[in-house]
Structure formats: C-alpha cells, structure tokens
C-alpha cells in the first residue's frame, strides 16, 4: 500500500514541478511576438518559395505586420491569402492578377534543336551552359537539361513526348523559382490573361538566327510586329522583339504578321467580333475612344456601330462599356 502512496507523491510532485516550471517559464520568457505575425504566418501556405522576395513565409509575415509590406505579394497564396491578410491588417485587398511562367523558346525538344555536339556531361542546364556555351547551335536557345523542372516545387512543368517543357497554367503559382533556375533567362512571369507571346530570345542577326534555330521560328528582328501592334506594346531590344505586357491587349495582330511564326497566338482565329446591342447602347462614346483600331463609329448620344472587318476581337470595348451593351460573338 505504501508503494502506491509513495508513487503518487513522487510522480505527483514531479508533475507539479514541471507544470509550474513551464507556466513560470512561459510567462518569464514571454517573447512579445506580435500576434498579428503569428496569424498571418498561419494563413501563408508555408512553401517558403520566396516569390514575395522575403526569405520564407515567417519573414514575409513579419514584414507585413511591422514594415507594412504589400499584402498581395504571396503568389502561391493568391487572392485567398491576400484577402485573409487584409482582414487581419484591416487594409483594402488590392487584388493582383495571377502570374504564370512562359518559356520564350520554341526549340529544345528532341527533333527541333540543331546541336553542335552530343552533350553527355552533368545533366543540369547550369553545367551544360558552361561547356562552350551549351550544346545547341543557337547561343540563346534552351539547353533542355530541365533545371526548370527540378526547381519547380509545384510540379507545374512537364515534358511532352517531344521533350519540350510544357507549363501547366493551373499548377503554376508564379513563384519564380524556374525564372532563377534557367541559366539562359528564357522564362518570364506573365499575367495569366495575356495569351500572345514572342517565343524566341535570340539577339542574332535575322539570317543567322533562322539558320541556327532547329525550329526555324527565330525572331529575325524585322520589326513588322512593332509597326502592326495597335497599342505599340512591342519594342525592339537589340534585334529581338519584346512585348510590354502592361500595354499588350492580346489582340494577336502581331502574330498574324510575323514572317517566321516566332510569335505564337493560341487564340488565333478563335477571337469573336464585338457587336453593339442597339437597345442598351446610350451613345456614351467610351468604346469608340478605347477601341485601338477605331472599329467603332457613331455620334455621341446615338447608337454606335462596330465595323466587323476592322474589329480585332481584343474585347477592350466589351470590358469598358458601362451598360455592357456590347457582346462578343
């Protein structure tokens, strides 16, 4: 019987000592962690991907709570995280469009790359580029050692049957890991609504570039797209056409004129034409002003009309019309 009493006393006292000890310690060593930081940290996905520019989610949470960092920089978290943080911080949630990665090169597969030699070294792009500037003829093209796939921790990049790298827009969170991983800087983060891309990064002269490109879709720097673009969103940078995505309206006109098909427009031919519904239109002329190709005509206060030949289907008028009197079909 005494053993039971002894054991209760001993273990009981141990439990009490530890309980009190932990309680006192938790009070005395109270680290004044701003509760907001903890709450924000719980909301962030915790992938520590660094897309927000901070080393890890805890650092980003700290930055938000203490230095008033922007709250929409968490790419993997997306709108959901952004809104939740906004509630905590009491700010208005400025939603930012989701970015996805785009690879500006159409060669790099098995049968669309011209090779100088068969590369059998360390299978990483960084290593391949160090050996006489990569195995493929084109000095700016993809060296197909898949560093981007290795870097992506959202499993968004896969190889298709021809060995080309395909980015899955749903999985890609725009965290930018692949952008850093690619030694040739072929990958750029682009808002998801922009569909038209110049899939080439060569600064070689036209003829040289075309000859070196296995796919023969090199940008020869002719400048036709620059002239054709209704919103002047394309500019020539050292012999290479580059789209400025803030101006670009994804109308696809540049893709039509590009002689070497360097510009790829997935919506080619699928774009609808704008039609103004006469009963809803109040003639406020906003669409006419906004239309990049002046396809809409009509006096103020009168029902406007769209010239379907001129209309390039960029849907700007459709978005701006206050009375949504415009339909795309």
């Amino acid at each position: 019987m005494t053993i039971i009493i002894y054991s209760i006393i001993i273990l009981g006292s141990l439990g009490l000592i530890y309980g009190l000890g932990l309680a006192i310690a938790s009070r005395k060593f109270q680290v004044e962690v701003d509760p907001k930081i903890e709450k924000i940290n719980e909301i962030l996905p915790g992938a520590n991907c660094g897309a927000c520019g901070h080393p890890g989610c805890f650092a980003y949470a700290e930055a938000i709570a203490t230095q008033g960092e922007e709250i929409n920089k968490c790419a993997p978290g997306g709108e959901k995280a952004c809104k939740a943080i906004a509630d905590i911080m009491g700010l208005k949630a400025t939603t930012r469009e989701r970015n996805i990665a785009v690879i500006h090169c159409q060669s790099g597969g098995k049968d669309n790359t011209l090779l100088r030699y068969k590369y059998e070294g360390i299978s990483t792009c960084k290593a391949a580029v160090l050996v006489t500037n990569g195995p493929n003829m084109c000095d700016f093209g993809c060296v197909f050692q898949n560093d981007c796939i290795a870097a992506c921790n959202f499993d968004a990049i896969h190889l298709n049957e021809n060995g080309m790298r395909i980015i899955d827009p749903d999985k890609c969170t725009g965290c930018g890991a692949c952008v850093i991983a690619c030694p040739r800087n072929l990958i750029e983060l682009v808002p998801i609504s922009k569909k038209v891309h110049i899939l080439c990064s060569t600064h070689d002269k036209g003829a040289v570039a075309k000859r070196k490109c296995g796919n023969h879709t090199a940008c020869i720097g002719c400048g036709l797209c620059v002239k054709k673009c209704p919103v002047d969103a394309i500019e020539m940078q050292d012999g290479l056409a580059v789209i400025n995505y803030t101006k670009c309206i994804s109308c696809g006109q540049c893709a039509l004129v590009c002689p070497t098909k360097a510009i790829v427009d997935p919506l080619a031919g699928k774009r609808k034409k704008a039609v103004i519904l006469s009963d809803k239109c109040i003639g406020c002329t906003i669409c006419a002003k906004k239309c990049p190709v002046d396809a809409i005509s009509g006096e103020p206060k009168k029902v406007h009309k769209v010239d379907s030949e001129k209309c390039i289907g960029c849907e700007i008028c459709f978005e701006v019309c206050p009375k949504n009197a415009i339909e795309m079909n």
Partner: protein
Amino acid sequence: MEFIGKIFALAIAAIFVQNFVLMRFLGLCPYIGVSKKLDSALGMGMAVIFVMTMASTFTWLIQNFFLVPWKLEFLQTIAFILTIASLVQLVEMIIQKTAPSLYKALGVFLPLITTNCAVLGVAILNINDQLNFIEAIFNGFFAGIGFTLVLLLMAGIRERLEKAEIPACMKGTPIAMIVAGCMALAFLGFSGLKI
C-alpha cells in the same frame, strides 16, 4: 588515469561500436527526416547533443534520488519522458528569448526532439548499464556526437544523391534507407573493437 580510460572507452563505444543510429536503431525518424540538407542536419545535430547531455544528467538524478530510494523503478519510463518533454519545451522557450538568431536556426528541430527515440534511449541505457553520474553525462554527450556524426555523413551523401540517376520509385526515403544500410555495414566493422 583510469577514469580517463573509462571515458575514452565510453566515447568509442557510443560513437563507433554501439552507434545509436546504425547499431541500436535509435533516433531513426529524425535521421531520415532531417538529413536532406547539410545545414539543417548540423542544426539538428547540435540540438540533439545539447538535449541528450541535459537529459542524461536530469534523468540520472531523478532515477537515483527519487525512484530507487522508494523502490519505484516501474515509474522510470513515465518520469523520464515527462522530464525530457518538459526539458525540451523549457529549452525551446529559453533559446527563443535569449538567442533569437540561434532559435531561427535551431528552433524548428526542438519539438522534433521530444519524439526522438535516441534521447529516451540514452537515458534508459545509462541506468541499465549502471553508469555513475559523470559517466552518464559523458555517455549522453558522446551518444549525441555519434548521432550527429552519422547524421552529417548521411546529409552529405543524400545531397549528392539529388544529382544521381535513381529510379523514380526509389527516390526519397527508400534510397536513404539503402544508404543507411551500407553505412551500417561499414559501422559493423567497428563492432569487434574493444578498449
């Protein structure tokens, strides 16, 4: 002089002959879990050495001043693990307050250590081998070093494994197990060593 000999013998035994991870199978969960990167392995190793030494000290005191005099040996498990859990939680709070930078490097490993079999293992082994107080502390310390040594070796190998050509199904834990098996084979060579 004989005392130094005993400590040296303990060191050889704890680190090589009866290595806690490869021969006694203690502390495998963190061993497989944390050994992906060298720096996190080092952080974990330091935390384990510290906690093991502290744990050996406290548990030996509790056993010989609380449990044995009142013949409560059956409470050994519960008393030891309660001490270790509270110790780790206390250490975590102290480090978080006094050395935030150290806490950033070490913090995430500390709660992991409470469920580490090696810490409780070394505490119980100190009692089963009837070591005295000083020997128990050294045994805890050397066991920690043995754990860290093997953990660092493993982290080094696994970092190179990332670049190696491994069949898809073997990536991750399975290949880590095979590597651990080879290391255990190597450590088997030590088992005949006796000081």
